[in-house]
Symmetry: C2
């Protein structure tokens, strides 16, 4: 199969699926040999497969005049082939995040810029020139840094990116084949001088490590790694699917985090326990790269018979109760300025927690109170179908009409009597109905919504403290 046939085979189904009169294929072109070959191939294919080709060069504001030269080279080529051309400028040095290397920042900003261009179209096919050698280098990089099996998974040929798709049609081709093609077709391309800079880890892998491995251990080491990556990708996909099913079965989302049923989790094979935890962590915060050590620590917490707590990166926190592991954000803020956390309606039957207080709450509908509440942490309310009970944080000036008293009382006075620390008060949950406060859990119940013989639905709420 020629390179052109290969690219056509990968791309064609997606061009056809789009079924628009004017499918946009957006290619990121650095000007290097990989992207220029793909550019050339796509420029031919646009007539046979029928799509609108847009080329985009991202200028990183690094490497001074050399970068300007590269940008001009791509622009000229686009002009010459009558291809729409977009130039995007990003400033890597200005926009580098803490802990991010220059390479990582450049990569992130490049993708963002490409995605911004893509977003100008209703939907488009974003195409990059990653090839087999990139795959091999990425895998080696991850193996050496430390990774789990998911990290060994090869890049996928096609994946969604926002409302668009990202296609990498050269993934099974080696760089040598691309260079050969560029020579035969007499294509212009530029050489990024930083590719020779051995201070960059990636360049050391490409220019030192891989040649050494090929000479000293296995001339086909690239092939060996690609094969491993393909198998791992399939197994990873399968395991993720299985783990997701189990995750749905043994976790519950709450307003401020996720609950994992310890017993359900521990019944799974260890391989799945680890993957469920990983999915939960990724689900609560995609922006964090969760480490193996954190997953292992969480599993130890789940296995431990004691109830404990632990801090995670980015203010995430974990604590265990007898039945659950609760992962949530200690310092999470509500959407409004007014509240430190978002008020939420009380479902008739539900289970949730107030993380800051280490309280777990169970609500259910009962026929009659089974017994009198044994503490202020348990209460029964007459509740009609239409009534929406809300939990919200305390505000200055809140008053309650206590059961067994006349008139009302400031909740802040209850806090003082109950020795609730000042810093915790803004987080304290109150059960409310409209403007009325029904209950300050642990401290005081109002005389509203009492249960009597005519009550149809009895809402029971128990705080496990």
């Amino acid at each position: 199969m020629s390179i052109e046939e290969k690219v056509a085979a990968v791309l064609a189904p997606w061009v056809h699926v789009a079924k628009q009169a004017d499918v946009v294929v957006l290619i990121g072109v650095s000007g290097g040999v990989d992207s220029m070959v793909l550019f050339d191939v796509l420029e031919h294919l646009r007539h046979t497969l029928v799509f609108r080709l847009v080329a985009c060069h991202v200028h990183h504001g690094l490497r001074g005049t050399e970068a300007d030269r590269d940008a001009r080279a791509v622009q000229n080529f686009a002009l010459q082939r009558h291809v729409e051309f977009r130039m995007m400028h990003v400033d890597v040095l200005q926009n580098r995040l803490p802990g991010e290397s220059e390479e990582m920042a450049a990569r992130r900003l490049r993708y963002e810029a490409l995605k911004n261009v893509a977003d100008e179209y209703e939907s488009c096919i974003l195409v990059t020139a990653h090839h087999a050698n990139d795959q091999v280098e990425t895998m080696l990089d991850r193996i050496l840094r430390g990774t789990g099996p998911s990290g060994l998974r090869a890049m996928r040929e096609v994946r969604p990116i926002g409302r668009h798709i990202l296609v990498r049609p050269l993934l099974t081709l080696y760089k040598n084949d691309l260079i050969q093609y560029a020579r035969t077709r007499n294509l212009p391309f530029v050489e990024d001088s930083s590719n020779a800079d051995l201070r960059y880890r990636r360049n050391r892998i490409r220019r030192e490590l891989l040649p050494y491995l090929r000479t000293s251990f296995n001339p086909k080491v690239d092939h060996a790694l690609l094969q491993l990556g393909r198998i791992v990708a399939d197994e990873d996909q399968y395991l993720t699917g299985v783990a997701r099913e189990h995750m749905l079965a043994c976790t519950r989302r709450t307003h401020d985090g996720t609950l994992i049923a310890r017993e359900d989790l521990l019944r799974l094979p260890i391989a799945l326990q680890r993957r469920v935890i990983k999915l939960v962590l990724e689900g609560i915060d995609e922006s964090v790269t969760w480490q193996y050590a954190e997953i292992e620590n969480l599993l130890e917490l789940v296995r431990s018979e004691k109830t404990r707590r632990m801090m995670l990166p980015h203010d995430w926190m974990v604590f265990t109760t007898v039945d659950f592991l609760h992962i949530g954000r200690f310092a999470s803020r509500g959407d409004s300025e007014e509240f430190p956390w978002n008020p939420f309606p009380l479902d008739w039957s539900s289970f949730f927690s107030f993380l800051r207080f280490h309280w777990q709450v169970e609500a259910k509908v009962v026929k009659r109170p089974i017994a009198y509440p044994t503490s202020h942490f348990e209460a029964f309310f007459a509740r009609s179908r239409e009534e929406c009970f809300i939990f919200r944080p305390w505000r200055v000036g809140d008053r309650i009409e206590p059961l067994g008293m006349k008139g009302s009382k400031l909740v802040s006075d209850l806090f003082t009597e109950g020795k609730v620390e000042r810093v915790l008060r803004p987080y304290y949950p109150l059960l409310t109905l409209g403007d009325e406060i029904l209950w300050v859990p642990g401290l005081c119940r109002s005389r509203s919504h009492l249960v009597d013989s005519k009550t149809e639905f009895v809402q029971q709420i128990v705080f496990r403290v």
Copy 2:
């Protein structure tokens, strides 16, 4: 945890499980620092954990006087500590198999020798001094050679070996810790001069590759690989378990191989398809290391709509029919000199095949013949509970009493009339009962065991050709 505590923790449960008055712990001792440290530790532990320690040194007949020196060093140490000592001699150069490196042969023969000593006891705990660095080197070796995820799996701390178990209590400890221990305890140990020989791949990994990776990429690369190995080991175990269940559901063993139901297999996720095929291949021949390429080829065969056949290493052969993939040995011989394949009894209900003829056979019990046989490849027999119908290959002089004729006929004459090639005749299956031939499938049915109105059990046999 000290080294001694670590070893005790790993070993203790197995010593206790054995529950014998006189548990034998057999240690293989090369004389190098790893095994001498373990020897020393076990020599202490034998009093507290209570077991009988036996040390065994395997002399490989390589490295001339240096090897003799090593053997003596171990023997002296054993003598000094009053530990039972065994010396085993193997001849690596004489016993090397084709395609085997000197290292591989030495390793195989060493294990065989240790297992021979172990077999002198009813059951024993075989102990080796593999440590964390060995793990790392093995993983790197496999990654570079080319492996699937199973190959990335770290060595297990405990595994069965024949009727014994193999325990590797030092697996989580690094070599440096062992050297430290040896120094502190002033232990004698020998240095194998071949360890410095960079012609050996293993030594290049230890002395060149790993130091380079630590310096240039990640000082904790060993830790990174061990962690990967542990996760992969758990996931591999899980996937193997799942695949085994599916394998049992979609395969059937026959007298000469294995049948895989194509549709059942193709319904599985690709990750499991691959693992089921791998398990089947390992099941039919453990001695072969099946390659990824062979598994992929088999999967392609299963997916292909055409029926095809393919040769595998070691005379194994595969062919497909509409419903099945059949893996078997083309040239398999029977145990006796007399037959090219082993006769086998016909189960009342069964499904099997004659590989050389590409025939699949279905046997079942029916109430009455549903219809008259439409060809000589289908037949009905009256069969009583006690009668053992046997399929066996043709022998010179075999005669049958054909239905609709008087007297008997030579089967060889039937072959000639039916144009069965001479080379195939010795493999041709005949259905027999005692000395009587009931059926030459495809050619002639005998007048014996006909079905009539008094027949209780009707055995139907259909050849799909």
